[in-house]
Structures are given as structure tokens and as C-alpha cells.
Symmetry: C2
Subunit: 655 residues, 2 copies
Amino acid sequence: MVSFGRVEAIFIISPGTSNSGGESSKESSRSSTPVLAADRTERLRDKMRRRTESGDHWFSLEFFPPRTASGAVNLVSRFDRMGSGGPLFIDITWHPAGDPGSDKETSSMMIASTAVNYCGLESILHLTCCNQTKEKITGYLSKAKHLGLKNIMALRGDPVGADWEEEEGGFNYATDLVKHIRCEFDDYFDICVAGYPTGHPEADSYDEDLRHLKEKVDAGADFIITQLFFRADTFLKFVRDCRAIGITCPILPGIFPIQGYQSLRQLVKLSKLEVPEEIMRVIEPIKDNDAAIRNYGIEQTVGMCRVLLESGNVPGLHFYTLNREVATMEVLRQLGLWIEDPRRPLPWAVSAHPKRKVEDVRPIFWASRPKSYIYRTQDWDDFPNGRWGNSSSPAFGELNDYYLFYLKSKSSKDALLKMWGEELTSEQSVYKVFTSYIKAQPNCAGHKVMCLPWNDEPLAPETNLMMDELDKVNRRGVLTINSQPTINGKPSDDPIVGWGPPGGYVFQKAYLEFFTSSENVTVLLKVLKKYEPRVNYHIVNVHGQNTTNAHDMQPNAVTWGIFPGREIVQPTVVDPVSFMYWKDEAFALWIEQWAKLYEDESPSRMIIKYIHDNYFLVNLVDNDFPLDNCLWQVIDDMFELLDNPPDEQPTDPAK
Amino acid sequence: MVSFGRVEAIFIISPGTSNSGGESSKESSRSSTPVLAADRTERLRDKMRRRTESGDHWFSLEFFPPRTASGAVNLVSRFDRMGSGGPLFIDITWHPAGDPGSDKETSSMMIASTAVNYCGLESILHLTCCNQTKEKITGYLSKAKHLGLKNIMALRGDPVGADWEEEEGGFNYATDLVKHIRCEFDDYFDICVAGYPTGHPEADSYDEDLRHLKEKVDAGADFIITQLFFRADTFLKFVRDCRAIGITCPILPGIFPIQGYQSLRQLVKLSKLEVPEEIMRVIEPIKDNDAAIRNYGIEQTVGMCRVLLESGNVPGLHFYTLNREVATMEVLRQLGLWIEDPRRPLPWAVSAHPKRKVEDVRPIFWASRPKSYIYRTQDWDDFPNGRWGNSSSPAFGELNDYYLFYLKSKSSKDALLKMWGEELTSEQSVYKVFTSYIKAQPNCAGHKVMCLPWNDEPLAPETNLMMDELDKVNRRGVLTINSQPTINGKPSDDPIVGWGPPGGYVFQKAYLEFFTSSENVTVLLKVLKKYEPRVNYHIVNVHGQNTTNAHDMQPNAVTWGIFPGREIVQPTVVDPVSFMYWKDEAFALWIEQWAKLYEDESPSRMIIKYIHDNYFLVNLVDNDFPLDNCLWQVIDDMFELLDNPPDEQPTDPAK
């Protein structure tokens, strides 16, 4: 699945030459979100400078686009995992043969967009200009900008065929592309160019190649990432030579942990690099032992990186991951650069799209489907900041029949059938799927239920705190799809429920959302009268028939945080207007993700269809956050009343 | 001081006739402030309808403009006191001889504006049109609209001289004025007109007068307030007659509690009303006993009002107060209509200006000078709602050399000298003024200190909770001007610190603001290092030299509330930008209110001038609201370090 050839985009570099340009365009922090770190609004080049000036070492990661849709789903999961180690940025190579600027889920453009929008990663999109018209390139850049991409790696790319000739006024060198970007998009993009520590193989000389690099930087590039190399000295000499001719911008070493004999050979052939004898001497004898080679690669890389970092001339390391995790993560761990920071700026994952930089309020409904939320709000011009109420009437994107890949389940149809049942015999068999999911236990066929249509991931640690109660109510057909416990002022660095800057306190109102039958709802409504005004509810069926005791326009803040020197942050709300949009999606998931697994007219499908048509979606908020969560008691009272309806209750014989 | 003649505006009524017009223009509640009651955005006519439909009885109060500036200050205090009983609205009569539309502090226009803007009272401004040009009237109405007035009582007014004649195309009747308002200002104003239960004295007949009233209502009036009367039957018959000819709008009875023999006689003369014999029979024998007449008036009024309310045709009672409090309040108390609701929608008094209807955040600095805050922000087009941060750069009105009357101290120069000292001998004598104020005790000259330049009122009950600490630090020259204790989730209906709707919880970060010497500040800064990042501070002198450990743009929310079904409300912030505006005012008050009490070059004046020039204004926030307030400890540590500077501390002899 991992194709080596694609990494070439960065390897085969047009000649070029340098000077860091660009002004920091810092916005007034007055209107920005109080709780989010500066790096949400900072440009990549400013972040890089700030980290460098602070003496802080950092790393970045390069990936190439996958071949298949399932490869794309896996790569996005890898982004999430490798993103948790704290890369300063990731970059996505441009794969000219793979329709790189298209809307295909495997295109370079879409992968980079996903990294930015859904994974919240600062990302660089590669772009090669060789054999492209200016219109085409401008089109790619406009699209990238629209998608929220802010950084471009400007490359010449591979000439097609040996008889390539310079084209008058065309893109002959990366320098032309850098100039074009600055000309058409002014200072919008941060631009990176490639450097070649041993000189570009096509260049007449090392010195001529350096001069080309200076030209690229002078044309407006902000920093340089180098081709890989095998000796620290090679890179350090290159940096000295660059500085000597006046290249002052950051130069990031491209680090390539050797991960296998074949990939190394292919690399050498493509890049015309020479592997030093001391390395070949070690590798040749173990060439059939993949694990041994990888271990050697890790050891050799760690050693070289230590020399680089200790030189004082290397602020950060850029890793050619080959879309693999183990070697790079191990190198970073050994270097002490892999820092999993459990702190979250907000309780939900923040998108890196520049338009969303002030976003700090979301409705709770999409808590387990953030990608759907981002997708459905991608056309918003403003994002709620401070209050949800300000975004007067949220227009959510339509639910389409087809879902983009990031709205799909990560699991195959086969895996879903194993988890959710090859055959359903009753509503109770659906209840059992829910309880298996909640307890993370195998179902009766022995398969663990790892996801539900409304929850693409196993339960959050926070939800585990309520596992017993959730299990109990799901058994009886209160099919929970979202919940949070009461929190009355836990420190903001609490490992499970904490978020936001240190020294603060976080709070929650208990929330519970579930599907349940209309019989249950009838009784529930009676019970809820006893809980006025403590509990707010919204109860709606697929047709939109809606019962509520809440204000019809005002949101209810259910998560908030108090921090030193800040305004209050309230990142999650129960919003009555958005709930009607979510309701459509929540009901549609029964059919789209579950019912359609089964044959048309099959009993299994009919059971899901019945639930879809007849159950209600209910949400409950316990407003009295300083007290114990009363929502379980509400459900208990409902069961009690169902079990002992008033007219059947045993009368006291003494009366 | 109370002039009876001015009440005539409502008594001498142009003929007129009826139908309640107007559409309810209810705004979307989506963008409104989450915590404020509907009546902040509702129009008067809608509030009236809502209260009437709910079967709720209510009252309103009529005042006339005062003659003198000190009368104006007293009247505004009376608005605050009588406003606390919950009138649906107050109205201010138009006094043609008193330059009623001017900017004089005693004009009808300014008194109504003060009631709306500073006292937060729904108010009706009377307006008479007799002998006025259309341009003049339009000018008055435009000015009223600009000042935030939303309701007009449209009257003809007294013709000047006996030879008055109708003017072609001029304002001959109140109907003309109603038409003019609707024509020029569309539906902007709610319009009230006068009704005459026994017929207007100038009308040809009772029936003709009723027809005139219907004309006025048909022209666009929203409701009717009647001339006073002495028997319930008079009013009830009048209402029946109005309904019979198709007048459907609300008709409010004008209630006049007899308060004295002379005023009753004068009224009878002016209004050509006849006092019923059964009343004269009681009054004549006691005509020299004011208390007895007032008691009778109260008893008679209560009895008549009971009949009116029990009739089911009277939703509310309109009182001619004659600018007096006792009789009206007693009547209202006996009727059970005087309901002092200690609940506050927000911790500060909400203004009734329509532009301010979404305002729900203010800087804490003006907590004791809200009128100054409202005055200095009157030109804002938007008011902060939800967050202070959104109102990007607050432009406060300039501090002028002259202060409008509502920025002045309520006390006379003489009273101020008694409170703050006829002669100051040292900075310590200033400290003693502060401690006397805090303890509400007499100063050495035996006078209670009821106010300070920064605090126009005695200390708030909340501040009393901290009296001992405040006393202690003021004695040593930490001259406190603003403070609030820590509150970690008290019920929103707490009688001292509660605010907002029921069922919520309110919170505060401890706050302390004071002037102190530069010697103290030097030591304080050392002490504050120990309290990082728990305590945020701003320290500034009159020249603007500023030291802070807070973000230079982001406000710190220091008061907030969590309510059922609402977003978080954070009505008070420490805003670093506004603090610089407040600092100018806070320092200026030393000179304007205090130093200028003394002769130029006098020692007393020089002492205040010295403090003004050399002291620093300090504010401190304890961010850790769940813990005990540490700010007193900060000050104690400062004193400790002042008393035992490190180089003078006794060394341990054992060492």
C-alpha cells in the first residue's frame, strides 16, 4: 500500500537560489477567542520563528496521498495519532499522476484539506509546476485557499520524458512558481522551497545549485526543507554555505529513517544519492531482516539528529515518514521531541481552517460526529465566538444521499454486520447492540461493538464514568447516543475532563440524548413535570413533531470554563434551532448506516425502519450542576411508572 | 417646592375621540441577551397587553419636572425609590413655561431621559402642541427618539389667552399631534392620549367629547389615561360609554390621592372638576390638619381603587403623585400592588434606552458611578452583548471640565466639607475620611461620611461583608474605592449577591481597587510575584505609567451567572483598555470633587493634589474563585514587608 515513488516530488528538485521575506500580519487579539493559544491565529512562519527564538526544538512530518479510499481513511486516522505528538506542521506531497487537485478523496488537495479542517493540523500542500499552465496553477492555488490551506511547498516537479526543454514564459523552475504565487496571491501563502545538501543532481555544480536556491528565496520563499542526507556534516556544511551567500531563512533538515532495504535502494536510484559506505556495510549483512534494518535506521537517525540539534543550527527536524508511524515515532521519542499533550484548548478538536480561527462554540449534538459538523458548516462565513446566540440563524449544509468519505463509517460493511448483527430479530436485538457498544464487550456472535452510526469511535473516557447507568437504561430501550456527566468546577488540567489553559476550572451540566419508543415518551413527559424547571428537554420524532419546555430560540450552555485573566468560555451548547438539523441527520443514520446493511424488505431492515419511523429522539439537560445529576433518576422514574402504571398500582389493603 | 400648576398638562385636554392601532413589532429573541426579561425589548403597549392578559394588576406614576437643579437630583432619587416598587411606567409632564425640550437639567425632556437612561424606567414624555409649529414639534420628537424615549403622551395643552382661535393646518387638537407623530415617525412611538370621565370642560357635551376621544384613538393612539375623578362609578360608566362607541384600547384610570386641602382646592379650580359632597363633608372640618387629610385621602383612594380593580375593567392604575411619595406608596401597599422585588436582572442597574437593550457586559470600574458610565458611552452604536471582547475598541466620551448634573455629587459643597474635612493636615487625614466612610461612622468632627468622590452612595450590602478588612487597609493608606468578594456559586435569588432569573447560580472573582502611594506600590510589586498567576493586577499613575501581568487586550470576567436553559452571562469584566479611560476619571475626581472644595494654594488642597500627582491606582483580581479570597493576604504581605524590609529583618542569632 505504501508507494515509495510518490515521495519523489520533494527529491527531484528544480534548481533555484534566497532571503526570508514577509511581514508578520498579526491580528488584534482583541476580537479573538479568549481561550485559544496564539498559534491558532499565527502564520506558520511566525510560529516557526517564535519556537526557534524560544530555543524550543520541534518537528514536522511528510506524508503522501493514498491510492484508495480505505487508504485515505487509514491515513486520516494516522494524522490523528501522529498529530497527537505535536508536529509543528505536516506536509502532503503532490502526486501529478493521481489527479492531485481534484475532489477525489485520495487527491493531494483533499488529503491536505482533511488534515487542516478535520484533524486541525497546520499543513503544507506541495505543488509542482512543470508542464502546467498558469491558469491551471492559479486554479489549484485558489482552490487550496478556499479550502483553508495556507502554506505551499513550491516545486518544479519531474519533467516528463528526457527531451524536456525550457518553455518561454512557462514554469521552468520552482522560482517561477514562487514568483507566480507572490504575484497572484500576494502574501497570503507561506511558501516553502526545497534545498539540496549535496547539490541537485541535474545542476552543473553545487555552487550553481546554491545560487538557484538563493533565487527561490529571493523570489519570496519563507523557508527551506532539504532533501534527505545520511551524514549530519553534509547538512551543516550546506547551512554554512547557504548563510555564506546570504540565505537567512530557516533551513529544515529532511530526515529519512531507513526502514527497509528495498525502499533504500529505490530511493538511491531515484534521487541519485549515494549511501555512505559505513551505512551500506551495516545494512548489507542484514538486508533480509526488516526488523533489524528498521532498528538500525532508528539508531542511526537518532544519532544523526542529536548531532544536528546540538549544533545549534537546527531549530526543527522534518521527517519523511513514508506514511509509516513506528520508526519516526520511535526516533522522536528517543529525541524527547514526541510530546503528547493531553491538554485540549477546547473540549472538542479545533479545526485549523483560518475562517474557523475564532470558533469557540458548537452545539453538543455533533460531539461524536465532528467531521459531519465541520462538513455541514463549511460554507459559513462567520463562526460563533463567545456565544452561540450571536450566529443568529445557523444554515447547515444539506444532508446528501451520498456521504463524503469522512462521513462514512471507518469500518467495512462486513465488519459492521459482525458488530451490529447479521440478522436482527426484534427491537431488543438492537438494544443489545447498544449495550455491547457501551460495555465494549463482544456481542452474542463474539464480536466487539466498536462503533455505532452516531459514534465512530469507542466511548470517550468521560463517558466511561457513567457506564453502569448507560448499560442499565439501554437494556430497556433508552438508546443513548450522547451524554456527559455533571462537572462542578474541576481543574482545567484534569486528565479526563479538563481543557483550556492551566489554572482554570471547567464545568458541565449533565446531558443525555437517546432514542426511545413513543410509549416511553408518553410516560417520560409525565415524569418530567416533576423536574420542572430543573430539567430542560427536547423530544422530537422523524417527522419533526417537537415537544420542549425550553425557550424556542435560546441555547443552553452545557460546558463552560473559567480561566485566569479571561472571559468565560462556553464551548458547548444545546441549541434548539440546530437540534432540528441534527435530528434529520440522527434519524437518517438509522437508515443510511444500519438499515441499508440488510436486504430490502428483510426483517432486519424492517426492524431498523420501524425504529426510525416510530421512535423519538430525546435530549435532557440537568440545569442544577452543583447537585448530583438527576437525569438517571428521571429515567428510573419513567421505568417505575411504566412498570407500575397508576391504575394498576396495588392499593393499600389497610385503606 | 412642589408646584401644583404643572399637573395641568394632563387636566386641560383637547377634545378628541378611538381605536387601538399598531402592530406588535417583536424582534427575534435569538440575538437578545440571554438573561434579561422580555420586557427589556418589549414595547410599552405590548407589556401592557401581556400584563393585562395575564390578569395581573399593575400601576404607573406621574411626575412633573422640578424647578431647580437640586430638585432634579432629589427627583431622580425619588425615581429610584419609587421605581423599586415596580411601576409599569412613569410619565413626565410637559411644562411649556419651563423650556421643556431644552438640555437644562430641569427640563421635561432631560428628566424623562434621566428616568430612562439612568434609572432604567419605562417612561412616557408628555408633549403639548398648542401654539407650536410642526418643525418645532418634529424637533422635540426627534430629540426624544435620540435620547431613547419611546412613548409620548399627546396633548393639546393650554391655549394662551382667552382669544385663542383654531389655526388652519396647525395643531388645534391632540388628534392633530397624534396624526403628526404617526406621519413623521411611523410606528416608532407608543402614543397615549387623555380621556375625560366627566367630559372635557370645554366640550359642548359629554357625547361630543367621547367622539373626539375616538378620533384620537383612530388617529393612532395606543391607550388612554384619564383625568382624575372621585367616584369609581364615574370611571366605570366612562369605560362603558367608550366601549359602546368602539374604543377598544386600554383605558387607565387617573388616580389622585387627596394630600392636602389647598392642593385639592387649586385642582378643583384649574380642572373645573367638582368634588363630591360626601368628600367635602369629611374634609372641611379637618382642613388645617394635613396628616388627617392625607390619611383620609389614602383611605378614600384605597376604597375607590378596590372597586375599580374588582370591576374587572381596570387592568392598572395611574397615579398622580404630585412628586410626593408617601400617600401613593401607602395606597399601593394597601392594595398589594407595591412589590419590591429584590431580584435584579443583572448585578448592575439596567438602562431602559432601546439601544442598550442587548447590553449585558460592563467594566467593573464604574460600578459605583453607573451614571458616568452611561453618560460616557451614550454615543455608542452597539453595546457589548455576551462578551466584552466583541466591542473591539471602546471609545469613551471625553471627560469634560463641566459635569452634567447627574455626574455631580448629590451633596452640597457645605455637606461635602463636613464629611471630607474642613481642613486637611496630612495624607493621614485623608485616610481617616475613607475609614469613616467604610464604617459609616462619624468623622472626628462628628459628621457621618455618606459618600466619596468615587462612591455616590453608602457602601453596598455586599461590601459590608468585607468591612473589617477594608477598614484595616484604609487606615494604612490603601484607599479602596471598589471591591467585591469571592462568590463560588450562590443561588441567583440570594438576597445580597443574587441576580438574574431564578434557579441559577452566581459567581465572582474577588476584586479590589485602591489608590496607594508609590512606596507601597514598589513593595506590592515584589509581593505580587508570589501570587503569579493567581492574581492579575493593573497599576497605573495619573501619567498613565502602567504595570500589569494581564493580557493587554483581553478582559477578565469577574462576575458571571449560570441559569437554567440559558447561555452563560458575564455582566462584569476587568477590561485593560477601559481601565485607562476609567483611570483618567478616577484621578480627576480627586481634583474636581475634593481638592476644589478648598482655597487655591491652601494646605488642604495641596494634600489632595499631592495624592493625585503621586499615588497609583491599583486593581487586583483573585482568579482562584473556589478558594478563599487571597487579596487581603496580598495587602497584609505588603504591610509585613514594609514593616520588616529584608535588610532590616532581625537575623537569627543562632546562625
